[in-house]
């Protein structure tokens, strides 16, 4: 039964990911200092970036997981034949997208902030976004490989697992990356 398999494999994960979203929200509210004008570590424009970069990260990672799921159903990647050209091409593609899209997000955030009456430091903003986007991209790609491998071993359908798992881990890792890199760059630049 298709429905039963989908409920059995996805429902616990979906509830877990919902809880993950609550945790992410809390981490986010702990970062408030970076967004409050007047605070010492305030970085103008950063608040505009957050929803966009989280969504970008989730989109690129779930698309990677989704493609690998199709690859599995097409029989071109499996537990025995895992580290092959198909896998590496998919990962290189995702990482390239991460770098380019981070840059796009940084530039867009700069112009949006100007429209909203802030004047962000464009170099600082773009450097933070590109570093955070690339760094979280590398971690997420590694994580994708690990998750896919475990899913294969357990005999689950990767399509039921990779989307929610990667989106949730992606959110938390991206928030922490922005947080860490913003503090680091805030101190250096």
């Amino acid at each position: 039964m298709l429905a039963r398999e989908m409920v059995k494999q996805s429902l616990p994960l979906l509830v877990l990911c919902g809880i993950g979203a609550i945790v992410t929200g809390h981490v986010f509210s702990a970062m408030q200092d970076l967004f409050q004008p007047g605070s010492e570590s305030f970085i103008p424009g950063l608040i505009v970036v957050i929803p966009a970069i989280i969504a970008m990260r989730g989109n690129i990672s779930t698309a990677l997981g989704s493609r690998l799921g199709s690859a599995y159903h097409l029989g071109i990647i499996n537990e025995q034949d895992f580290f092959n050209q198909e896998l590496s091409q998919n990962i290189i593609g995702s990482l390239t997208l991460s770098v380019i899209m981070s840059f796009v997000v940084g530039i867009l955030a700069y112009f949006t902030s100007i429209l909203l009456g802030f004047s962000p430091d464009i170099v600082k903003l773009v450097v933070i976004v590109v570093l955070a986007g690339t760094f979280s991209g590398i971690i997420l790609s590694l994580l994708t490989v690990v998750i896919i491998y475990i899913v294969f071993k357990r005999g689950y359908d990767p399509d039921n697992i990779t989307g929610p798992a990667l989106a949730t881990f992606g959110d938390i890792i991206t928030i922490l990356s922005i947080f860490g890199i913003a503090f680091f760059i805030g101190g250096v630049l």
Partner: protein, 185 residues
């Protein structure tokens, strides 16, 4: 070799850029609605959950449809029984998840003293109502995007995730406010 990194990049860039633009807009939407957010502090916990569950269900459904289309086990039509079963299960899955999480969020909110202005029944009605509406639209969007991109010769795996998460993030906030308006205000 079926996949090439250049093709992945080429297929992803336009749709991702569109998604990012909409997300920046959604972020502004959230900032301008701060007034309502402060009126009902429980919403700070609810918004990320509403958005992420819908996005997750949409991407599971999209990934399943994409695999089915690639392998040929799913036809590009709403008359296809497997396709309909997938959509139906996704909607049921979403409704159950929203129900479980609405009770979880309300418990956490009572513990954190954030339940100002809203009781349990109202909150469950709002979250499940907004959630089911959202998940139905996301499921349809997922099917249309998968079928449309497959027909166009694009890989549905690249297209569905950006479309459903972006829709989930924007419509999720809107439906939540609509249901609050109907049920509480």
């Amino acid at each position: 070799m079926i996949y090439r990194w250049t093709r992945v990049v080429h297929a992803g860039l336009p749709i991702l850029t569109l998604g990012v633009c909409v997300e920046i807009f959604a972020g502004q939407l959230l900032q301008t609605s701060q007034h309502t957010l402060l009126l009902f502090p429980i919403l700070f916990l609810t918004i990320p959950v509403i958005n992420s569950v819908a996005g997750n269900i949409g991407s599971v459904l999209g990934a399943r449809l994409a695999s089915g289309l690639h392998v040929g086990s799913i036809e590009m039509s709403f008359k296809d029984a497997t396709l309909r079963e997938n959509v139906f299960t996704a909607i049921v899955l979403g409704s159950v998840t929203y129900f479980i999480l609405s009770i979880g969020i309300y418990s956490l909110a009572s513990y954190l003293d954030l339940t100002l202005g809203i009781n349990l029944v109202e909150f469950v009605a709002i979250m499940v109502g907004a959630g089911i509406t959202l998940v139905c639209i996301i499921a349809l969007a997922s099917v249309f995007t998968a079928v449309w991109s497959f027909k166009k010769g694009l890989d549905p795996d690249d297209m569905v995730a950006p479309v459903v998460t972006t829709l989930g993030d924007t419509l999720g906030i809107i439906f939540l406010f609509v249901f609050i308006g109907v049920i509480v205000l």
